[in-house]
Structures are given as C-alpha cells and as structure tokens.
C-alpha cells in the first residue's frame, strides 16, 4: 500500500490530493503506468512526463527510481517557489 500525493495542476487534473494504491510496481515508471489506467484524468495528467517531478518519502527522486520500501510517492510539476 502506497500513499500517492498530487500537487498543483496534477492535483487539479486528477481531482484528488491523495489516494491509497495497492500496487506491486517496483519503480516509479511502473507505478505511473498503473495510475494511467485508473481514469482518463490520470492518463491526461501523466501524458507528458517531462512536465512531472516525483518525490519518494519526501525526497526528490528520478522518474525511474525504485519503489522498494516506499510509503509515500508524490507527483507534481517543476517547482516554482522563491
């Protein structure tokens, strides 16, 4: 069971702040494949992965990072703070 979080326009497109996912995905890439099948909104949100960043357990990670031991995966657009 993984908590999946969405921020900014990913949150808005998917219409959820977070969802709990039962998954065997070994990597972020595999998780994204699964998420795309959940709804058209998910498919749209993840249609261009160059616009998506990911954090695993609150640490920035690569899109092909391993999910071994991961409890929380967050997806969001490039950050624009400061």
């Amino acid at each position: 069971m993984i908590d999946v979080l969405y921020f900014a326009w990913l949150r808005e497109r998917i219409g959820e702040r977070s969802e709990q996912i039962e998954t065997d995905a070994a990597t972020v890439t595999e998780l994204v494949e699964e998420l795309r099948t959940r709804s058209e909104a998910h498919a749209l949100a993840f249609s261009d992965m160059t616009a998506v960043r990911v954090a695993i357990d609150q640490d920035l990670a690569a899109l092909d990072a391993s999910l071994a031991g991961a409890r929380e995966v967050a997806f969001f657009p490039p950050m624009t703070g400061g």
């Binding site: 954090a55 967050a74 950050m79 624009t80 703070g81």
Partner: protein, 146 residues
C-alpha cells in the same frame, strides 16, 4: 528559527534585526526578499501551494548545503504559502559571513535552489482567470553555475 514555513506575513525589518543580532563576528549580511509583483492590475492574488511533509526538510537541506559550501556565520529562510496580495512579501533569505563575497554567493545560491528544488508551486489569480506559474528554463539553468 533558521527555517520558517508559514502562511502569516512577516516583518522583514524585524527579521533582519533579529538575524543580525543572532550572529557574531559578521562583517557582511546579505538579505533577499521576494514580493508579489503588481503586474499593472493583471494580478489579483498569488496562491502558493506546498508539500507540508516535505517543505521544511527540503528547505533546511538547501540551507545546510549553503552553510557547508560557503564560510557562513548564519543563514535563515522564511517562506510563506497560501494566498498573497500584490506587494506582499513571499519569502526572504538572509546570510551572514565575515566577507561579502561569501554572503552574496550563498544568498544567490539559496534563491536559485529554493526556486527549483523546494516544493512550492505558485498560481497567479487575475481578473480573467487563474494559471499555474510555469517553471522557467533559466531558473533550471541557474543551478548549473553552482
């Protein structure tokens, strides 16, 4: 507090004074503050979203990296989230060092990293609707110089 993530406004003058009093031996203090620009009425408000479980840790990691890379006597970061009006302060950093080169470089480094590596997202709300601020290519390129 060396890192503060807050929705409430802050008093830049008071923060600067407190920071200056908190460091000893400094010859140079640099501050940066970012404000919501009033783009000639095109902006009604700025909404800043963040990732609460991650934000403070990510910002502190950037602060620690600056402390390690430059001869700093101190560094503080305040960053707000929530709804902000034009003219309001979004955030500030302050750095203190014996010499000005370290204080300037570290402040610029902190800004470049906060822009692209801290989990904040800005949305501009105007009379004609709202839109997420796009990341700028040159913000990402700015990281390459460090």
């Amino acid at each position: 507090m060396t890192v503060s993530i807050q929705s409430s406004p802050f008093d830049m003058g008071a923060e600067v004074r407190r920071f200056a009093n908190s460091v000893s031996g400094a010859g140079a203090i640099v501050t940066f503050s970012g404000l919501v620009r009033d783009d000639g009425g095109k902006l009604t408000a700025m909404e800043i979203e963040h990732y609460p479980a991650m934000t403070e840790r990510a910002v502190e990691a950037i602060r620690v990296e600056a402390m390690e890379r430059w001869a700093l006597l101190g560094a503080v970061i305040v960053h707000r989230y929530g709804r902000l009006e034009p003219g309001e302060q979004i955030m500030m950093v302050a750095t203190a060092a014996r010499h000005r080169a370290d204080a300037f470089a570290a402040a610029e480094f902190l800004m470049d990293y906060l822009k692209s590596r801290a989990p904040f997202w800005k949305k501009e709300i105007g009379p004609d609707g709202e839109q997420w601020v796009a990341a700028r290519d040159d913000d990402e390129e700015a990281l390459a110089r460090w």
